[in-house]
Structures are given as structure tokens and as C-alpha cells.
Symmetry: C3
Subunit: 346 residues, 3 copies
């Protein structure tokens, strides 16, 4: 979807400085590789040097950065929020793939499936009894949607995602390939030398505007629901056990794990490979740093690090102290010796 | 499958105290949310307060807890093992989904596949040459079963689980979606600047009553078998490398990883995100706590924590000591100064 | 593919000592379990004792090990590199499964897919528009290949691997089941209380001779490519975020994770469950030990351990020091007391 620099500026609410307003822009690129016909962005002064020899035809840039010395061929598009503007530009230049309404003949839908308008069902998709899929949703090739599932509007379920029975999914939800939503939670009682399975009869409820990464697993509740709140974003290979309540606009990065029956409050952030023991509450807006293991509650707004995780300042102080520890051991030995000498003398 | 309180009591071998024995129970719920027509359980005195205003119609409870003050509408079902009784109640009220014997026309079975009685093969399942599937097993939609695979009786293979060639699976085994059983182990020899693949010609052998979680991977042996013993339960996103011997009734929680050629003895427990280096033996009933990294053998019955993992007591003592370390550094500095003063004086 | 000991020796460039050169060898086994008619290898003196009573009919062995006392029925096949020779032997005795050229009638190929010679497309595979697949490649059952994908020659894509649109894959690449190549990178901008998705319009480029394990995820670049260099080997359940540049002949073991925009230089090794923060460079041939968390650059050839990861020697020294810490705390207390006594006396 090529557009001119001028159209791009209008789209982004930007002021043009220099360059050629009639230049056709065909694509977006990052600042180190952008070529003629491409738009880029500068949002970090660290990369400003790239701009001086850039072959790019346009660059979205904030007011405060606009005094850059740039090639004549480069139009600076000065705007309030160049990051958001660049997102708009990318969406216009590289529109997301759409799926024309169709039910692939090579799909298997139960007779009582209820489909909204303009739904796409790809080849080899399987959709179970009593399931409802909202308008403009796309169920891509081979996605498996169980029985009595509700999927809202404008959702996209990628190939080979699996939605077990009874799961409820809101509007504008994206689920990437290989994600498994609603498999059994991991619950057993140990009796007579064997693990007796606790039936997992709850479900998973995913609210609106959630994105779930590839090969992520979200288990159904044992009783009741495992919940993912509106606007939360979950990366790849994340494990969310049964009966967790993940709030709104939570971020969970790759390979994080949450055991079970936890509350992850709104706006919390779990960085990569962080883990949370069961029955833990992570407060609103709290941040768990990468690879931390959380065994107890974390207050709202706190930043925790380490395994077991502690307040970041405490954890960093301890890390620093550990670096001094080998030296400290030597020092204590010297003190001992000196003291012995003193004791003998006295 | 609604039943009366009286029938429920009989099913669970429980004595009824109070409430209405003829009340119809239609479902099970946890103690904080159970409503009229529902049965719940009380097994932890921490939650006893919920019972006093509960709208539930029945509650399974142990003898020692039975002196609760509860609403008139609530029947206490007093029994020896309310946890097991509740499992029985849930199974009766919420029977597991069954699959009527059928071979979906949209499946591909090799001509020499041997199927037991009452087998279900879902749409888009693929089953390879010489494979045998035992009676009452269900191969759900899109499950891929390779060549020369043996699957026992009463197994359930969920959508898009993949069973590579030559895998052997016992009876009453459940494998959740996206689990990959029998992919190549990770073995290379480094020669002339490149990694030469070691052929992985072994297989995976899974014994009876095993449950394997979503997106878990169990690699085939390089030579010989990777084994998962009877009754072991493996959670989601677990990695089990080639030639590991996992014993009987072992528990492996979400995101644990076992490198290769390890022995995980009977009844061992690996908590969430624990990891085990190769050629390690974890003794019978040993517990590896969450996020621990095990580099050497662990004796039977021991509890290990940390990375590298140590005996739990030692690890906790060290953790406590680290907390005191910043203070200790200050103290040693003071000692040094005092000692200098003393030295000067003497 | 049974062959005689003599043929085996020729295949492996080995000298026969003892045993029966005309004995038929039908399979390979490890040294602890090899039986008559089997070939094994001895490459570690730790296992030499097994050889003395081995029922194996042949054993590949290095020159320096050849003075073993072994049963008369055992032919020692003495060669320069018994590990490589054994790989050759295993490949001959247990040839990899091949797939005769075929396009399964139960597959869906876009009309403009370009297939090389001798390609196999399994049942329920789906291949999108403009995609090209090189000669002798096998796309197994249910693999999903998106739009505008390039796959080279002699590749094998296992069941239910998913290749998103625009991915480029070289020659002799193996991708195991459940691997997801090219799903969206995890990028959002936080505005007005919500996470705004940054479009992920780049792709993934996988060079020749790469192997990718089961359920591993490699995200597409936000702009530009995520790259996996020639000969790199990636284990199961690995997460590789957007815009990472993984070099040539890199090893990434199970459950490792690399955030985004990192450079993992040639011949680097990331051991099991290691993690790398974003924008980090791991130098050529550097080794990150198991479960380490890397937050900053690592120089070429270095070995790092811990979380946060440090030079291995430093990390080990600190680990040792921590073991002495509880004792140190006691000792400092004693010093304090002695010093007090001295101060009083003086």
C-alpha cells in the first residue's frame, strides 16, 4: 500500500521538514537499514548518527529531536509520538493479512455451530458442538475448537492452536499457533502409593484484546475458571496453571510460569522466565524481573528480583555483597591473626 | 448427572448431618462460591469460615471437622477422606467426556493398523503402518501417530499430540495436546567445525497410568529407550531428553527439564521449572524444589533447593546468611578500624 | 540393512582384531546392552569393563584402547575416530525413514505453489500461495507452511510444525513437530493504560543444515529478519525472540530463551535453560552454562555461569565463598567479642 510522504505525514499528524513530500513510500524499515522509498523512525538519540547518512526517504521523529542534520533526500516527519506514528505507518504500508469469509470444504464443523458474519474457517479446522464464533473472526488451518466454546468478534486463532471444551474467549483476541487453552490443570491426591487425579472441570475465560503467544499453555480451572483479563499480553512458551486470575493489561514474557490459584493484578509485568509459586498475589503494577522465582506475595508497584525473589534494591545489594565475599573471607582471616597476635602480647 | 444428597452420601461412604437428604445436587464447586444445589468440600480449617454462610446444599468433611456451625440448608457429609470423596462426587456429577466408537471418515489410517474394540479416531488423525491401538482408546482430532507405535487400552491422545515412530504406550495413558513424544534426542559430535548428528534410533516407552501435559516433549533414546514409569504424572512444557529413565509415580511439574541419561527414581518430585543435568540420579522419593538446578546425584528422600541445588537445610541457611552479608561487611570494616586503633595503642 | 563385520570395518575404515569377520551385524546398541549380532562402541575407558563380558559381535574402538581383553566372539574394529565411525555404522544399519515422492490427496496446496522434484507432502499438510519447496524435501502430515515461504532442498518438516508467512529456510534443514517458526515477536508500546501492538512485519531466515527441536518457537523480526545461521542446532522448547541473529554452528540446549535483538556469535553454546536479555552479544565460541541468566555482553571464548551470569571462575569462587558464609558470620561474632575483651583490658 505505497503512499506519498505527504499522505504519510497526514496519517501520522506530522509536520514535514525537508525531503520530498511527493516521494512514494513503499515500506518501513529500521534506522540502520532504511533505503530510498522507506520510512523509518528515530526515538533514541543513541541511533541519531545513522540518520546523517541514511538513504531513507522519511523519518518519524519527535519535536525535540528535529534539529538533526540529515541528507536532502530525507523528509523529517515531526510529530508528538513518533513511536505510535510509526506503528500507524507500518500498519498502512504493510497491512495485516486478511482472510476472506469462507468455510473451507476440508473442515469439520458440528451441525449446531453458530458462526457470526464474515467468519473464516481454514482447511482442517475442527469445531465442536454448541460452539459459537463471533463475526469477522478467523479460525486458521487446523485450529481445533472444542465443544461449547465461545469465541468473540475479530479474533484470530492461528494454525494448530487448540481450544479445549467450554473455554470462553472475548473479542479481538489473537492466539498463536500451538497454544493450548484449557488442558487439564495439574492436580493429584497421593493415596496408597499412587497419584489420584483430581478432575479438572472448570474452564478458561479470556477477556477482550488479549494476545497469546505460540506454544503457550493455559490450563482450565479445577473448579471455576482460570482468567486472563482484558488487554493482557502473553508471550511464547508461557505456562499458566489452573485457577490463576491474571488481571487486565498484564505482561507475561517468554517462558514465564505461574503455578496455580495466583492473582496477578492489573498492569503487573513478569519478565522472561520468571516463575510464581501457587496461591501468590502479585500486586498492581508490580514488576518481577527476569528469571526471578516468586514464593510470596509482592506489593503493588514493587520491583522484585532473584530466586527467591526480593525487593530489587535488597537483591542488588546482596548481589554486590556476594561479589565482595571472597575478599571478605581473606580479610576476616587476617583480622583473626592480628587479633591473636594482640592477645598474645597483652 | 444430578443426584440427591442421600445418593451422594452413599457414593462417598459418608454420614449425613443436617441439611436435606432429598435435595438434588447438580454440580460441585469450591467452598467460597458454592450455591444451592451444589456440593463442596472442607479439608482445610483456614476456609472453615466460608461454611457458616455457605449457600451450598452439601459439604464433604472429615470427622474431626464435623462440629462446624452451618446453615440449616447445608448437609454435612462426614467421611474418612473428604478429598477422595469429593473426587468421586465430581466424577459422578461431571462425568468425563466420552467418545463413541467411530473412525472419522476424515482420518488417514495405514492399511495394516490394528485397532482394538470401541476405539475412536477423530477427524484428521493420521495413523502409520503397523501401529496398534488398544480397546476403548480415543485418538482425538488431528493426533498424529507414527509407524510401528503401540498404544494400550483406555488411552486418550488429545488433538495435535504427536507420537513419533516406534513409541510404546501402556494402558490408561493420557497425552494432552501439543505433546511431542519421540522426537530426536539432542546429540551431536563436533568435527571439522561442524556438529555431526548422532542418529537417534531408540524409542520412548511410556508405562500405564501416565499423564503427560500439553506441549511437553519426551525425546527418543539415542540407542535404547527413554522410559516413563507407571503412574508418573508430567505437567505442561516439560522437556525430557533422550535415554532418561523416569521411575514409577514420579511428579514433574510445569517447565521442568531433564537433560539426558538420568535416572529419576520412583516417587521423586520435581517442582516447577526445576532442571537436571545429564547422567544424574535422583533418589527414590527425593524432592527437587522449584527452579532448582541439579548437577549431581541426590540421595533418596532428600530435599534439594537452589542452583546448583543443595540439601534444603544447607541452602536455606546460606540464603539466610546472604541476607546478613551486607551488614557483615560493615561490621568487618568496623572491626578492622578498632583493631588498628588497638594496634597503634599497644 | 544387516552387513558383515568385514563390510562394517570397510565402511568405517577400521582394522579388525579378533572375532568373526563374516558375522552378520543387524543392529547397533550401547556397550552395556549389546548382544550377539550387534555392534557397539567404546570411547570412554570408564565403560571398558563392560567389554570383557560383552556378547556384542563387534566394537568400534580407538587405537589407544585396542589392548582390551575381550571375548573371542567380539571383533574389535580399530579406527581413528570410533565416534564418527559408529555414527556411520548406525546410519547403515538403521537407515533413516524415507518418504517416497507423493502429494497426499488429503493436503491443500495453493495453486501457485512451486515444488521441486521428489517432494513428499503428507496428509493434511497445508501450503500457502507463492510458496516454494526444494527437491527431495518432505513436508510431513499436517505441517502448515504459510504464504510466500521458501524451503530449500532435502528439508524435513515434521507433523504439525508451523511455518508462518514469508519465512525462508535453507537446505538440509530439519524442523521437529510443534516448532513454530515466524509467529509475531512480542512488542508493545504502553499508551493510555493499554499495550499497543507493534506490527511484526519482518520474517525468519534459517540457513542450511539447521535442526530445530520440538515445540521450539522462533519469532519473526519486528522489521527485518530473525536469523539462524548455518549448522546451528536448537533443542526442544527453546524461545528465540524477534530480531535475534544467531550465528553459525551455535548450540542452544533445551528450554533456553533469547529475548530479542541479540547477537549469538558463531560456535557459541547455550546450555539447558540458559536465558539471554535483549540487545546482548554473546561472543564467538562463548559458553553459557546451564540455567544461567545473561544480562550483558560476553566476550568470545568466555565461559559464564549464574544469574546474573559472570565469568565461570568468578562465579564458582563466589559459590564456594557462600558455602563458607554461615561459618564466617559466627567467626566475625567471635572476633567482635574478643576485640571487646581486649578493648576493655587496654
Amino acid at each position: 500500500m505505497p503512499i506519498t510522504v505527504k499522505e504519510l505525514a497526514e496519517l501520522c499528524g506530522a509536520r514535514i521538514e525537508g525531503g520530498d513530500a511527493d516521494r512514494i513510500i513503499h515500506s518501513a524499515a529500521d534506522i540502520s537499514s532504511a533505503q530510498a522509498g522507506q520510512v523509518t523512525q528515530l526515538t533514541n538519540s543513541k541511533y541519531a548518527a545513522h540518520l546523517q547518512q541514511s538513504a531513507a526517504s522519511a523519518c518519524l521523529i519527535a519535536e525535540g529531536f528535529a534539529d538533526q542534520k540529515v541528507p536532502e533526500t530525507l523528509a523529517l516527519l515531526v510529530c508528538k509520538d513518533p513511536e505510535l506514528a510509526f506503528i500507524e505507518a507500518v500498519k498502512r504500508l504493510h497491512p495485516e493479512r486478511t482472510y476472506a469469509p469462507e468455510i473451507a470444504p476440508q473442515s469439520v464443523l458440528a451441525s449446531d455451530v453458530a458462526l457470526g458474519e464474515a467468519v473464516y474457517i481454514g482447511p482442517y479446522a475442527v469445531i465442536g458442538e454448541q460452539t459459537r464464533i463471533g463475526e469477522h473472526s478467523a479460525i486458521l488451518a487446523g485450529a481445533y475448537i472444542g465443544r461449547n466454546v465461545k469465541i468473540g468478534k475479530h479474533c484470530r486463532i492461528h494454525p494448530y492452536a487448540v481450544i479445549y471444551d467450554d473455554v470462553e474467549i472475548g473479542d479481538h483476541v489473537t492466539i498463536h499457533s500451538g497454544a493450548i487453552i484449557g488442558a487439564d490443570g495439574f492436580g493429584y491426591k497421593f493415596r496408597n502409593g499412587a497419584h489420584v487425579k483430581v478432575p479438572q472441570i472448570g474452564n478458561v475465560r479470556i477477556e477482550d484484546n488479549v494476545e497469546i503467544g505460540a506454544n503457550t499453555c493455559i490450563d482450565r480451572g479445577a473448579l471455576g475458571s482460570t482468567v486472563i483479563g482484558t488487554g493482557s499480553k502473553i508471550d511464547n512458551l508461557v505456562q499458566i496453571g489452573h485457577n490463576n486470575k491474571v488481571g487486565r493489561h498484564v505482561i507475561m514474557c517468554g517462558q514465564t510460569g505461574v503455578s496455580g490459584s495466583c492473582t496477578i493484578d492489573d498492569y503487573a509485568i513478569l519478565a522472561g522466565s520468571a516463575g510464581v509459586a501457587d496461591h501468590v498475589t502479585i500486586g498492581k503494577g508490580a514488576v518481577v524481573l527476569a528469571r526471578s522465582g516468586v514464593a510470596g506475595d509482592i506489593p503493588a508497584g514493587a520491583q522484585y528480583f532473584g530466586s527467591p525473589a526480593k525487593d530489587k534494591k535488597t537483591a542488588y545489594k546482596e548481589q554486590l555483597a556476594i561479589q565482595k565475599l571472597p575478599e571478605l573471607i581473606k580479610k576476616v582471616k587476617q583480622l583473626e591473626e592480628k587479633l591473636q597476635t594482640l592477645e598474645k602480647e597483652s
